[in-house]
């Protein structure tokens, strides 16, 4: 039985493609609102969405969407769902407004209503002026927008957005994120945003489910996950960095490398920066940079998937 406060719930779901287990005994709860489904490529995010849509049948486990059992009522679920796939997808030979209206009709809207809604959502996603153009002539960014429009046309209660900002330029990406945020926060549409981009999830969602290698490694409200369990420092040292890292880890401190030569060190409760200096002195390395920091979603993500 699904939890009434969950829009999506998975219980011990395993999905196998041949010999490859794409989802391994996954249990997760997606609360109402905007939930990020975060993980590196190949983590099983798209497989999870496809299993929820009924595209792939799990080997074991149960799934509930909007309190409906995916195995028993897939059509009733899909009538209330909007899905924006990751890859380019359209109906060939149609202009944008015909395509979106057609999708509305497929979802059960009468033809007149579907056409009216098609015009509205195309304006909403920023394709109002290009709505009579053939979809095949659209740029990558426009194709992303039309995929969102076709997912929205029948006014779903829940949206699955699979990598919605893929291939978009920075301006288009920000506009897409603004749309997603508006849908979740102002239009009361529940959505699951699958992405490997932390800033996208952090900007649009309140909750996150982090996946890695077919399993859910952590889940919960982003603010809770980011809550400090100790102190975080940005640290740069000169000397035998590898040996120093080993020493820090042996002392129970987590260390994550960043893009620059700065490492992020998590000092557990009860200790402070003095412990870092003491360990540096012991290892004979110079501390060149030490700055208090706050945990980010990136830290949560890195910690969850065990990245060094």
């Amino acid at each position: 039985m699904a939890e009434s406060s969950a829009v999506v719930q998975l219980d011990h779901v395993t999905v196998t493609y041949g010999a490859n287990r794409a989802l391994r005994d996954v249990s997760a709860v997606f609360r109402p609102g905007a939930v990020g489904l975060l993980g590196p490529n190949g983590a099983g995010k798209s497989t999870m969405l496809k299993a929820l849509l009924g595209f792939v049948r799990p080997d074991q486990g149960t799934m509930h969407v909007l309190d409906l059992d995916v195995a028993r009522e897939p059509l009733a679920i899909r009538a209330r769902l909007g899905y924006m796939p990751e890859t380019d997808a359209h109906i060939p030979g149609m202009n944008a407004v015909s395509f979106v209206a057609y999708c509305g009709q497929l979802a059960g809207l009468p033809s007149v209503d579907a056409m009216q809604r098609a015009h509205e959502v195309l304006y909403y996603v920023g394709l109002g002026e290009a709505r009579y153009r053939n979809v095949e002539t659209y740029s990558t960014g426009m194709k992303q927008r039309i995929k969102l429009a076709q997912a929205l046309v029948h006014d779903p209660d829940l949206l699955f957005l699979d990598e919605p900002t893929n291939g978009m330029d920075p301006k288009g990406r920000q506009e897409m994120l603004d749309l997603i945020r508006d849908l979740a926060h102002n239009k009361n549409v529940n959505l699951i945003l699958s992405s490997h981009l932390l800033p996208d999830v952090e900007f649009t969602c309140e909750h996150v489910v982090v996946m890695d290698k077919g399993t859910v490694v952590t889940q919960g409200p982003i603010q809770d996950l980011k809550a400090p369990r100790g102190q975080v420092y940005e640290l740069r040292v000169k000397g035998d960095e590898a040996a120093f890292l080993e020493t820090l880890r042996a002392a129970g401190m987590e260390c994550h490398a960043t893009d620059e030569d700065v490492m992020r060190v998590f000092v557990p409760n009860g200790q402070n920066q003095r412990a870092l200096f003491a360990l540096a002195t012991r290892e004979g390395v110079q501390v060149r940079h030490l700055k208090p920091s706050v945990p980010t979603l990136e830290d949560v993500f890195a910690k969850a998937i065990g990245e060094e």
């Binding site: 359209h90 057609y102 979802a107 809207l109």
Partner: protein, 279 residues
């Protein structure tokens, strides 16, 4: 505060019952084909034999000296057989891209994320092809029968050949169903409608050539079961109460046709999915 906020609004209107999406797919496909001038030209061309036969029936009914042209049950059988060539071309023109184009554009995941079952998607696509194929077989066939009654001014021919209506219907539908399922299955195998068209034409011609070669070698037409069109011809002969033209037992031909349809359904079941699993 804007006077009118052209933004996203929730929908509170009527929603159709589930299970009707196939009609949406069918109508969209039919409208799309009717919009193509080349296809309309092909359809008009496909009705020329009907006009010729209609003239033949008119002359036979109104000019006693032309009684040699008077239609028989075999005339209608010949008409259905003649339309076979248009069935071939319409099948290729309409059918090749029906699923292949959707596969090329990744449209299957769009379709199947909507509240419709795979069988509805296939039914919608089948309906597009079958509608046009029936338009060049069953519709002109039945119209010819009606014209015969109208031109002759009596029901005597129809009364004497009452089986013609069900025979025309059965033969047309059999021809149309076999062509539609086969083409749809082939269309689901590729992303290229051109490749599918070549594959279909190749399958028809290759099996026909093989039948011809085997007949020449064995000196018997008992191997007609290898030919796509020979099996149909054999069964349609029986439907029109004519002597089967080949030595192959009719149940064998029928079995091959049923097996071909079953194979096509199996291919469609495997290929029409929201996600393609490569293992």
């Amino acid at each position: 505060m804007p006077i009118h906020d052209q933004s996203y609004r929730r929908y509170g209107g009527h929603r159709e019952a589930l299970g009707r999406a196939w009609t949406v797919i069918a109508w969209a496909g039919i409208r799309s084909m009717i919009g193509k001038r080349k296809f309309l030209a092909l359809l008009i061309f496909a009705w020329i034999p009907f006009i010729v036969r209609a003239v033949q029936i008119y002359i036979a009914a109104n000019f006693p000296q032309a009684s040699i042209l008077a239609p028989t049950a075999e005339t209608f059988r010949q008409f259905i057989e003649q339309q076979g060539v248009f069935v071939f071309f319409v099948t290729i023109y309409v059918g090749a891209g029906l699923i292949a184009n959707d596969r090329r554009a990744n449209a299957l995941q769009i379709y199947l994320s909507k509240p419709l079952m795979r069988v509805e998607y296939i039914a919608g696509k089948l309906a597009v092809l079958m509608a046009f194929l029936l338009l060049v077989t069953w519709v002109p066939g039945i119209l010819l029968l009606l014209l015969q009654v109208l031109f002759a001014g009596s029901f005597s021919f129809l009364r004497a050949n009452l089986f013609l209506f069900p025979a025309l219907t059965l033969a047309s539908f059999l021809q149309v169903i076999v062509a539609s399922f086969t083409m749809l299955a082939l269309s689901s195998l590729s992303n290229s409608s051109r490749y599918v068209a070549i594959l279909y034409a190749g399958a028809v011609f290759f099996t026909e050539a093989m039948f011809g070669a085997l007949t020449a070698i064995t000196g018997s037409t008992a191997v007609s079961w290898v030919s796509f069109s020979a099996n149909l011809a054999q069964v349609v002969d029986v439907i029109f109460r004519l002597k089967p033209r080949y030595d192959t037992p009719v149940p064998v031909s029928l079995l091959v046709i049923v097996a071909l349809i079953a194979l096509s359904i199996s291919v469609l079941e495997r290929r029409v999915r929201g996600v393609e699993v490569v293992t």
